[in-house]
């Protein structure tokens, strides 16, 4: 009798689309998986990706960091952020008032707009609200400005809030994207960055997903330039021969929301260098 009632309720919920979501439990399980898989990595070091799990690459990276290749982008980003004057006379500082320019404020779920807001989206919101054309989302000026803001957010703690039905729904969309197989090669994010993390993919080592978002934007040697998180997402899509999505598409924003929440408690350490 009890079983029948339970099944009826369960079926009703499935059919009506009610989501049994528990982001906090997801986060704990996610983190524990990596703590157990890489016991020699200090918790805070996951923000360094592959350099946390491979000594040789770490040594190369530390040497590179003495004079990092993102240095030029940082200088340009500083000028762009501080010296750009919009058509109506305003500047980025008018939108990004003191407390609001740190990366620790992003991403967040904007209930009014019913969407996730990321730092890059906020940069373009600022531009558009002052009569300017939006920047392209994956590379170029937006990455340079993001790099400058990231530098000044170093050490801040990732603290994404996921509460309220709409926000939880966005989180669940991001989580679903992460765990879904896609592309001709039929890979999901989880396949490489959880299940195969620490293993080799051709000449490279797959980094764990924990801490992935902390160090963006990155100067990637493959790109020879600085790029945003969404640029990397589209690269990952292409690599598995799936169609890459536009920067700041709902899917990518929700994915960023999910991944950032998974890395809550870790510190921002952008911009960084990757291969």
């Amino acid at each position: 009798m009890c079983l029948r009632i339970f099944s009826a309720i369960f079926l009703y919920c499935l059919l009506s689309g009610v989501v049994w979501a528990d982001p906090a439990a997801d986060q704990t399980a996610f983190k524990n998986y990596f703590y157990k898989k890489f016991p020699e990595v200090p918790v805070g070091d996951f923000i360094n990706g592959v350099y946390a799990i491979d000594q040789k690459r770490r040594e190369q990276w530390l040497e590179i960091e003495e004079f990092p290749p993102y240095g030029i982008a940082l200088d340009e980003g500083e000028i762009l952020f501080n010296e750009t004057v919009f058509l109506d006379g305003a500047s980025y500082s008018d939108c990004f008032v003191d407390g609001k320019r740190s990366k620790k404020n992003y991403p967040y779920f904007d209930v009014k707009r019913n969407t996730v807001v990321t730092l890059e989206l906020a940069i373009n919101d600022c531009r558009v609200s002052h009569g300017e054309q939006p920047l392209k989302y994956k590379k170029g000026d937006i990455a340079k400005i993001s790099a400058y803001l990231a530098l000044h957010s170093r050490g801040e703690i990732i603290d994404v809030e996921v509460s309220g039905e709409a926000a939880i729904n966005a989180y669940e969309q991001g989580k679903k994207y992460y765990y879904s197989k896609r592309g001709q090669l039929n890979f999901a994010c989880v396949d490489c960055h959880v299940a195969s993390s620490g293993m080799r993919i051709r000449a490279e080592i797959l980094s764990p997903s924990l801490g992935h978002v902390s160090n963006f934007p990155v100067y990637r040697f493959k790109w020879g330039s600085i790029g945003t998180l969404h640029r990397r997402f589209s690269g990952c899509n292409s690599q598995v021969r799936a169609k890459p999505l536009p920067g700041q598409s709902e899917e990518y924003k929700n994915l960023e929301y999910f991944l950032s929440y998974m890395s809550n408690g870790l510190k921002f350490n952008g911009p960084s260098t990757r291969r």
Binding site: E66, F67, P69, G71, I72, D75, G224
Partner: protein, 102 residues
């Protein structure tokens, strides 16, 4: 264009690191729309000066990186000395940057 540099005293030798911003075209790439070869445009010569004296010089060819990073050691400069790093590219455009030995 810009040149950033760092110089650190290690014993009696100065370790210099420079990052030069340059587009760098090998001259072999073909423009997808016109079908024409994009002309070569890269740094050909890079020199480091100390008190007006040339202490390091390198000749670079089309294989040089975009935004090349260079690291070398020189003897002579002391802490607080100013080093100047100058580059010339194949179009004759020069770029320069000054930095202090630390």
């Amino acid at each position: 264009m810009a040149i950033k540099g760092k110089a650190k005293m290690r014993g009696d030798v100065v370790q210099v690191k420079v990052l030069m911003k340059h587009i760098m075209e090998t001259g072999l790439r073909v423009d997808a729309t016109t079908g024409e070869k994009i002309p070569a445009y890269h740094i050909t010569e890079a020199t480091c000066f100390w008190n007006g004296k040339e202490v390091f010089r390198t000749n670079l060819g089309p294989a040089v990186s975009k935004n090349p990073y260079l690291s070398f050691k020189i003897k002579g400069p002391q802490v607080s000395d100013i080093l100047n790093f100058t580059s010339v590219d194949n179009k004759g455009v020069t770029d320069s940057g000054d930095f202090v030995v630390k």
